[in-house]
């Protein structure tokens, strides 16, 4: 029993050391390369590798060579059993403001082994309050939106793409 306990301790230390030494910036490079294959380019950002996380600041996101979004801060954090991506202050390009509210204050993606099937999403912005999940097994994205008055007033076309149920707007996308 003592031996098994010892092995468990060794294993936990191994995971901890691995997470500390893991080349987070290189993994991020791989992510950028994969995204660029979908014509999404994250550019002009400042990277800051920390002990267990990676900070990305002032990133401009281009889609099909058109600048769409500026992100003030992205934080990737992982302990393998629990991972979190936090995105703060997302500003959409002014010309896109006729399609969607131009400011998103916060987007959070969380994954935990206790709920291994889902990545939970929560977001707050000019559009209102958004909650949802990505169901990894069934390959479905489910979003529930509590729209702000601005969203209801100006962006009714976006809301038309969602289903209204009990005062909340629902959106489902299968991939």
């Amino acid at each position: 029993m003592k031996k098994i306990f010892k092995l468990c301790i060794y294993f936990l230390f191994f995971i901890l050391f691995l997470l500390i030494f893991l080349p987070k910036e290189s993994i991020y490079n791989l992510l950028e390369q994969k995204l660029s294959q979908q014509n999404i380019i994250i550019s002009d950002e400042k990277r800051n590798e920390k002990l267990l996380s990676l900070d990305i600041k002032n990133a401009n996101v281009f889609y099909n060579e058109v600048k769409g979004v500026n992100i003030r801060d992205i934080n990737f954090f992982s302990l393998l059993v629990y991972s979190k991506v936090e995105v703060n202050d997302v500003k959409l390009l002014e010309s896109l403001s006729s399609f969607f509210p131009p400011f998103i204050k916060n987007i959070e993606l969380k994954h935990s082994v206790l709920d291994y099937q889902n990545i939970n999403i929560s977001s707050l912005g000019d559009f209102g309050l958004l909650n949802g999940k990505i169901d990894l097994l069934n390959r479905v994205l489910i979003l529930n939106l509590d729209p702000s008055s601005e969203m209801k007033r100006k962006y009714i076309k976006v809301l038309k793409n969602m289903k209204l149920k009990e005062g909340r707007y629902n959106y489902e996308y299968r991939f």
Partner: protein, 268 residues
């Protein structure tokens, strides 16, 4: 308190090994993963307005300036119309002032010993006994100046025509940039595909009283390029829309009745 260093080292050795293995694995992962990310490189010529004018930094070929041959003007003819191609060839309609008779001349044809050699947008060159004569088109000599102004919903819809240049007020353009619905109310476009690739955008519907109608776009025109950017995708079109606030001129290349036309505007 006595510390048994031997025992302590013995206990720490497995952790040191674990650290070493973790470090080795991380190094292998580091070697396998890409060293560099992807950065956006702007290949667009949108902001390079000097390229249009063959400026110092452009890739345009060096302009070889030929020594100007002194040209004399012809006063006994009136040039009424020019149909010229990009190779300075084509035909003209010319009127003799003395007998008020009109003639159609194609390139290298002769009238009273004058041979039509070159045709340009606003004038032609005729040659007689190795001497060049320039004949300007009648309407161009008289400077045309007018403006179309109307005030709808507190937006001044201004377009000035001053000689050869057409100036569009930025406020008028901004009224479209800030309201995408207004754009789609006034114009409908469809992509034209050639071998599964987008090869311009066809104007399916255009409102006559809109900015698009006033600037000369017509139904069935195919927009091939804007500001020297060939439109091969929706993102190319969107790029123009995005950069319009930084643009000082607009150059549209359109295909109309199988002819390429250029529409040039200044934005003020």
């Amino acid at each position: 308190m006595n510390i048994d260093f031997n025992k302590l080292i013995q206990k720490l050795i497995p952790y040191a090994f674990i650290l070493l293995i973790a470090y080795l694995i991380s190094t292998i992962i580091f070697i396998l993963l890409p060293r560099n990310g992807v950065d956006f490189i702007d290949n667009s010529t949108q902001s390079l307005s000097y390229k249009k004018y063959d400026g110092f930094y452009s890739n345009a070929k060096t302009i070889i300036r030929k020594k100007k041959v002194k040209q004399e003007t012809l006063s006994k003819y009136i040039l009424k119309a020019i149909y010229s191609t990009t190779l300075n060839s084509g035909w003209i309609t010319i009127e003799n002032k003395q007998d008020n008779k009109s003639y159609i001349l194609s390139q290298f044809e002769e009238i009273d010993g004058y041979i039509l050699t070159k045709l340009y947008k606003n004038y032609v060159i005729l040659e007689k006994q190795a001497k060049e004569y320039r004949l300007d088109i009648k309407q161009i000599n008289e400077k045309v100046t007018y403006n179309m102004t109307s005030n709808i919903n507190n937006i001044k819809e201004n377009i000035f025509v001053d000689g050869n240049s057409v100036i569009v007020k930025r406020d008028y353009i901004n009224s479209y940039v800030n309201d995408i619905d207004k754009v789609w109310n006034d114009i409908s476009i469809n992509e034209i595909r050639n071998d599964n690739k987008i090869d311009g955008f066809k104007v399916v519907r255009v409102a006559k009283d809109s900015i698009f109608g006033k600037l000369g776009l017509k139904k069935n025109d195919i927009i091939k390029s804007i500001n020297n950017n060939i439109l091969t995708s929706y993102s190319d079109a969107f790029k123009v829309y995005n950069n319009i606030s930084n643009t000082k001129y607009l150059n549209l290349e359109i295909l109309r009745n199988n002819e390429i036309l250029e529409l040039n505007y200044e934005i003020d």
